[in-house]
Symmetry: C2
Subunit: 374 residues, 2 copies
């Protein structure tokens, strides 16, 4: 198992990650408190997809005593977006809606250019624009959301970047990220920028993101208080398994391992039928007799994470498929149809999305362009 902000491979042991990273499991009591404050339940929480946290209890304290909190997440625009990229954003929207919280979304064009040897700036810039339209399609509150590209917003934050950078030495990034003497000096500097938005407000920051991003927050939590800011809080998701199986995460470099947001209905159906790893048995007779192994079945997992929020319906599928009454082909059809409905709606929202609201003209965006962080 390897889990870094740039690579997830092998069978992920989430208990081990929680222990190694020093985060905490979301307990049933804490989940209940979050859902009570939110005023509704959430399938990604109920089903333990968002499973780990840092200081989520303090965020709830701040919410309950009226201080409030804000949200921050991001996207590295190294290519087109797939379904897995959307999940923390969908969860962030739920948090924003339920808590009426400001949300900052960092588009890390610098990071993606710096970390990939063959990345071209022009390509990254193109994907950044395209990704921002996909992100806008999630439907965030246009007056409480600010989406910004690192390269474009840097003029407003550079003094803060150097203040953060001054507190982090090479030993630290070497230990935390495994940087070496061959790492380029831009990538060595970059962690300062990913940390910076945790200091956009004096209130506590809550970061909904996959757990592979946690190393940045560890560094942030070592330096934030000395700069007059809160240690950031985080709520960590697992990884959406790739179509081919439960190990690692969907990889942008393997076109066929993911469902892309611009895959058409036929492609989606074909990929799921052909590639989605099945917990079904090798013969019909065996399948009918012992039923599918849900724990490795990718279609069932995707339905659990996002595409079948109704617990009763998910249970029905689990019962039918797990007992062998439902066949692999049938659950795959269910997923394909749910996915295609989701994607059709996404594309429609994307076409109508007013990206400028989030980047320049909405209330929060206008405020952010006026600010200088020093």
């Amino acid at each position: 198992m390897a889990v870094t902000p740039w690579e997830v491979s092998g069978k992920v042991d989430y208990d081990k990650l929680v222990k190694d990273f020093g985060t905490a499991r979301i307990t049933p009591a804490l989940r209940a408190r979050l859902e009570r404050n939110a005023g509704e339940s959430n399938a990604m929480l109920r089903r333990d997809y968002f499973f780990s946290h840092r200081d989520l209890d303090l965020v709830m304290d701040d919410y309950e005593n009226g201080k409030g909190f804000y949200l921050y997440t991001g996207r590295g625009p190294s290519g087109p977006m797939h379904i897995g990229h959307l999940i923390p954003l969908i969860f962030a929207k739920w948090l924003q809606d339920r808590f009426r919280a400001n949300l900052y979304i960092e588009i890390t064009d610098d990071e993606k250019f710096l970390c990939k040897r063959d990345a071209e700036w022009e390509g990254i810039a193109k994907f950044a624009g395209e990704n921002m339209r996909d992100i806008a399609a999630v439907g965030f509150d246009p007056d409480r959301t600010f989406i910004f590209r690192d390269s474009e917003y840097v003029g407003n934050v550079y003094p803060m970047l150097v203040k953060i950078a001054k507190k982090i030495n090479f030993s630290t990034v070497k230990a935390v990220f495994g940087f070496t003497n061959e790492t380029n000096i831009g990538f060595i500097f970059y962690p300062a920028y990913q940390i910076m938005p945790t200091m956009f407000e004096k209130r506590r920051c809550l970061i909904p993101a996959a757990i592979d991003q946690d190393p940045y927050w560890r560094i942030q939590r070592d330096i934030a208080e000395s700069m007059g800011y809160h240690k950031t809080a985080a709520i960590h998701s697992k990884f959406l398994p790739p179509l081919q199986g439960a190990a690692g995460k969907m990889s942008s470099s393997m076109k066929e391992s993911a469902i892309w947001l611009d895959d058409d209905a036929k492609t989606v159906r074909r990929k799921i039928m052909k590639y989605a790893f099945s917990g079904g048995r090798s013969t019909l007779e065996e399948h009918r007799r012992i039923g599918a192994d849900l724990s490795v079945d990718v279609p069932f997992q995707w339905l659990s994470v996002l595409f079948e929020p109704d617990d009763a319906e998910l249970k029905r599928i689990a019962d039918e498929y797990g007992s062998g009454r439902m066949l692999t082909g049938e659950i795959k059809e269910i997923l394909a149809s749910k996915l295609n409905a989701f994607l059709a709606e996404h594309r429609e929202r994307k076409e109508n999305a007013d990206v400028e609201k989030y980047t320049y003209t909405g209330k929060l965006a206008r405020e952010m362009w006026k600010k200088k962080f020093e």
Copy 2:
């Protein structure tokens, strides 16, 4: 002897520096060519104060065949400015005037904040503003000069910074600058910014600066052509010796070792009388008999570098003082009076300097704020 961009100490052996850094001495023929193209001679060249170069011959080729070139130098705003800080700027003005060349002056607020453990951003910002007024007082061409603070201009150059940074790894900055695991990640990144202005134009860049800055240009010359730019050229000065003697350079941290641009006439005279290291002899009798040792005499060296541009007058002083007819007190009076005249004029120009011309409203400044370097 230690010569790095942040420290100069010990007796500087300029021949050894030329050899170690791999630069070239300015030959009499090259100096003659530069002065012929300039249309006049220059004391700092004639007296070997600007003594070393990289590709100055190619700059002259470009000038002679009509391509032209541009100038770039800088200032780290870690405190008030002393006489030594002004010298490369005065020489840059001469080059600008004679060659009608664009000149870019980088105010490295980020560098100075990052390299000094106890530097506060607010203090650096204050000195940056103050230094810019001193620099404007040199009297550059307002339509061919752009003075910019790193932290303020970063929004226009960040994609180029990351492109440069991607080409430099930790091994390189470790070898060139002696960075260690304890170096902070901002300072590790900074060389990208000092290199960036060498790519402001597609024409060749000529950098007038003290030779301690040369390590940056070595890195630049390794990567520039792969990015479609010229290897930068440079013309290197020696260091103005501190008042107390010929070793090292004037240090901003030793208030009494330098003449500050805001020292009043009385202070200037007192410091020179009290501290300026003298080549005069210990008794009047001995001095009259063997004369002063000009090679270690600080007042004579300061007159040579800047304050007595007239060769005939300088020779008269050398003859008188070297033969013992002139006394230490007398040459010190000459220097004090020249220096005070220079400083009075500087302060008057500073009061009337229109800094905005160089930073925002002059022709080159306006063009530069419109540009995005990607």
